[in-house]
């Protein structure tokens, strides 16, 4: 990562105003959003939107043709172009033809995307943004940090400073007063403007209508007072039918600002009469700027389902820490990373794509059903294809693809790490998955890996067998978790098989964009794990489970390596996570815990992959309760712990505050123990509590359960 980029992150996370405002907003947003959706079947609603928008993305040209025909029939002028420069030229020409000196604008990300304001200003036209947030950043000479709330990064003190300069009067920080100043300053501009420029939230092909969704009332003035109205709309806003406006209006305000509906919605179909009786000149520009190319790319077509609500930013654990400006472009956050990679260029996303920790929070709330983490993974893959891997990565992954060498190094690390050991943790261990950077408490490599310990375990002979896939962390750092799993399954009458040739699941390579490496890991594991004729392959690491269930097949498919696909699918059907299997065994009555035991309060941390990719959250809680624990929920129990594989080592400045927040939430429950199903989370959170010194026990669910088995 570039130095300036790292510096901008450090500045952002240390900006107390920014992280305070964003953190508070993000916490409140989640609660308010849920409330706004009360009584609405969100899954059905977003499926509808995804269907409507995806079908539109399949036929952008056809819908644009229909829109043009229908809007023109109503008297609008429709201009279509792929080129942002042509958009600017067109608007300037209309302005020149009509002697336009002043423009008022309502909020439009598309005009920000093509940097329209400076272009018009350069050509002698005065432009006033009228959305309060946009006006603030215009006065500050900045770009929006959030697509819905452009000035969310600014304090009232900063706004008062800006406005004071503008009106040449010392203003206090009273927000109501500042808003009044904006009203009074902008009102004459509305009344005097020769031209109004707006964006558009929806464009309806069959009626030639544009829909504007706003709160302040400025769009109504921009589209009413000046005699010329230009609407600039990205072609991804097209929908075929008028009725499709409904689901988008149901979702957009709820997802954007947790409102049932914004204060104003305007559906404009053709020009209306001005107040002097003349007919308004209405120009609608449908802008492509690579959207059609995106629509034809199977991996990125889904990005056109975005309705620009910004909810992905509002729930993002990274965005709430760093804000929007770190992203460097006009569009910010996860969706911004994707749009920047396309509307600017792939290279521009090189640094910012690394900000995504792949926690999947955004996928849960996106009303367009976008899988942003998946698209960011694809960006990583393409960047690696374009730029190649770094030497360090190449070396690491070269090792990871050679199991014997890899495991040999891990064994050696267990010895090499020794001198630095303090308790269970050591500092500055060259952890095998990391970019060899330093920074935090990491676990010692176990003196004896699980693969060796396993050979010494005396198991009962059982009819039923399962294959255990340990993954690197359990195998080499936390073998006790594997031992606990064997104990539990043996108790249920299941013998555990551990194929010694199993190797890394490929997640570290995959999440770094090194798909070829991950594919090799996938094939090596598929061969080994399918050798035994068993019903289940169980893993006690959710990231590994996701690899077995989803990523092996997806990776091979992406690379076009079809020959192993059927086997990958076979493995996918057999693979499952630890808690799901144990819950099933408990329900079947095959596994029971000591009776009448009260173990007191415990809190449970949901790991990202388990909760959001595997949809498992109730199972571990239920079995912990069965074992005698009383689960006391922490605030934001399913918020990422900041580990994210090697993320915590690449971006410790972000990972650390996320972890601190998690530790705080755990401590607030007063529970002496926190349980989780992921060895990666254990590593992060245990490492945090090791330094924090508050003595909270951090345990894998398997370990806690194994202690409570009936004798």
């Amino acid at each position: 990562m570039k130095k300036e980029f790292k510096a901008s992150i450090t500045r952002a996370v240390n900006d107390a105003n920014l992280t305070g405002a964003l953190g508070k907003f993000s916490e409140a947003y989640k609660v308010n959003r849920v409330k706004a959706y009360e009584g609405i079947d969100f899954e059905a609603l977003r499926s509808k939107i995804a269907e409507v928008k995806s079908s539109a993305a399949d036929r952008l040209d056809e819908l644009a043709d229909a829109f043009q025909k229908n809007a023109q029939a109503l008297g609008a002028k429709v201009y279509r172009t792929r080129d942002p420069q042509e958009v600017k030229d067109y608007i300037l020409q209309v302005a020149k033809d009509n002697g336009v000196k002043t423009v008022v604008k309502s909020k439009s990300m598309a005009t920000e995307e093509i940097h329209l304001n400076p272009y018009l200003e350069k050509n002698g036209i005065s432009v006033a943004e009228t959305d309060l947030g946009e006006w603030i950043i215009q006065l500050a000479g900045q770009t929006p940090s959030h697509m819905v709330m452009p000035a969310i990064h600014m304090t009232k003190e900063e706004v008062a400073e800006l406005f004071s300069k503008e009106v040449d009067e010392r203003l206090s920080t009273d927000i109501a007063r500042l808003v009044k100043v904006a009203r009074d300053e902008l009102r004459p501009k509305f009344l005097a403007a020769d031209m109004g420029i707006s964006g558009g939230n929806i464009a309806v092909a069959e009626t030639g209508s544009i829909v504007l969704v706003t709160n302040e009332g400025n769009a109504r003035l921009v589209t009413t007072l000046p005699k010329i109205h230009i609407a600039l709309i990205g072609v991804e806003k097209l929908v075929e039918k008028f009725e499709s406006v409904m689901p988008i209006l149901d979702a957009l305000p709820r997802s954007a600002t947790a409102q049932l509906l914004t204060s104003y919605v305007s559906i404009i179909s053709g020009p209306t009469a001005n107040d002097d009786g003349s007919l308004k000149e209405l120009h609608i520009i449908l802008m492509d700027n690579r959207r059609t190319e995106m629509a034809r790319d199977p991996k990125f077509k889904q990005a056109l389902q975005c309705i620009r609500c910004g909810s992905c930013l509002n729930v993002c654990p990274i965005f709430r820490l760093v804000g929007g400006h770190v992203f460097g472009g006009i569009y910010t956050g996860g969706i911004g990373t994707i749009l920047t990679a396309w509307f600017d260029e792939l290279k521009k996303s090189e640094d910012i794509q690394g900000l995504c920790i792949q926690c999947g929070n955004c996928t849960q709330v996106c009303p367009g059903k976008l899988d942003i983490p998946e698209m960011i993974m694809e960006i990583r893959r393409r960047l690696v294809l374009e730029n190649g891997q770094s030497l360090v990565q190449k070396t690491i992954f070269g090792v990871v693809n050679n199991r014997k060498l890899f495991h040999g190094i891990l064994r050696a690390a267990s010895v090499a790490g020794k001198p630095f050991t303090s308790g269970k943790f050591i500092r500055h261990l060259p952890l095998f998955l990391s970019d060899l950077t330093s920074g935090r408490s990491l676990p010692a490599i176990a003196a004896e890996p699980f693969r060796d310990t396993f050979l010494k375990i005396k198991q009962p002979k059982c009819q039923e067998k399962v294959v255990f896939y340990a993954g690197c962390l359990i195998d080499f750092a936390y073998p006790e978790m594997g031992v606990a799993l064997v104990k539990l399954l043996n108790k249920a009458g299941i013998e555990v098989l551990f194929p010694q040739e199993q190797t890394c699941c490929g997640a570290p390579a995959l999440y770094s964009g090194a798909y070829e490496v991950a594919a090799q890991n996938a094939v090596d594991n598929i061969k080994v794990l399918l050798q035994e004729d068993v019903k289940h392959v169980v893993s006690a690491c959710p990231t590994c489970t996701v690899a077995l269930v989803h990523e092996f097949a997806k990776t091979l498919d992406t690379l076009g390596q079809k020959e192993w696909l059927p086997k990958a699918k076979e493995l996918s059907e057999k693979a499952l996570d630890f808690s799901t299997l144990v819950k099933y065994l408990v329900d079947e009555g095959r596994l029971s815990f000591k009776e009448g035991v009260q173990l007191g309060k415990i809190t449970y941390h949901d790991s990202c992959h388990l909760k959001r990719t595997l949809n498992v959250s109730e199972q571990p809680r239920e079995i912990l309760q069965k074992a005698g624990y009383e689960v006391s929920e922490m605030f934001e129990c399913d918020m990422c712990c900041g580990m994210g594989g090697s993320y915590s080592m690449k971006l410790p400045e972000i990972s650390a505050p996320i972890l601190q927040n998690k530790l705080k939430n755990i401590k607030q429950t007063g529970a002496p123990t926190v349980a989780m199903d992921c060895p990666g989370c254990v590593m992060q959170i245990r490492g945090g509590f090791d330094q924090d010194g508050s003595g909270v026990r951090v345990k894998h669910t398997a370990e806690l359960l194994a202690d409570q088995l009936k004798d």
């Binding site: 000035a151 927000i175 589209t223 559906i267």
Partner: protein, 183 residues
């Protein structure tokens, strides 16, 4: 549905009233305007846009009231304190009002003024967008406006502030006598 509408609209800061007769509505409205300071001076007068409510009313008598005007122009609207208009539909599930505002006067009185008074037939409350979309037609209505509460912003520190560019107050008056679809 009226109660649901009222709760939702009040939830976003609108003031909601209901009267049986037009006369009752007027008996509320005129003292309200007076109390809020309606006068002939710029910044204090009221503009009443063309409304079915006025059919059969003695407009001349109303015009006698200081500060109440029935002529709507851009320059008058820019100095008006009150805007009065009649909306077409009310949506119970979101507390929204909907009107075909193709006529610019309807937009001027509801967007440039500080207090927008919205009259509406009690019989035109719909459950939500689905029945509304069966009743609106963009081919014949060029500017369909939804209004939900007063103008608002939260662009400074996410603090909700009312009345940034549009009206600071939205006063909704249902009148049973105006009929509507389900009188």
């Amino acid at each position: 549905m009226y109660e649901q509408f009222k709760a939702k609209a009040a939830g976003v800061g609108a003031e909601v009233y209901r009267f049986e007769k037009k006369r009752d509505a007027l008996d509320f409205l005129l003292p309200f305007l007076e109390k809020e300071g309606m006068a002939d001076a710029a910044g204090s007068y009221a503009l009443w846009a063309d409304s079915p409510f006025l059919d059969g009313m003695d407009k001349k008598a109303l015009q006698e009231l200081p500060g109440l005007k029935f002529e709507v122009t851009r320059s008058l609207a820019s100095q008006a304190k009150f805007g009065i208009s009649q909306l077409d539909w009310a949506l119970a599930d979101t507390g929204s009002l909907v009107q075909d505002q193709s006529a610019v006067e309807q937009r001027l009185v509801s967007s440039l003024t500080s207090i927008h008074i919205a009259l509406i037939a009690s019989g035109n409350i719909l459950s939500g967008k689905a029945p509304l979309f069966e009743r609106i037609n963009p081919q014949t209505s060029r500017y369909i406006a939804f209004i939900t509460g007063p103008s608002r912003t939260a662009d400074i520190e996410r603090v909700l502030t009312i009345g940034v560019h549009g009206p600071e107050r939205l006063v909704i008056i249902f009148v049973d006598e105006l009929g509507g679809e389900n009188p």
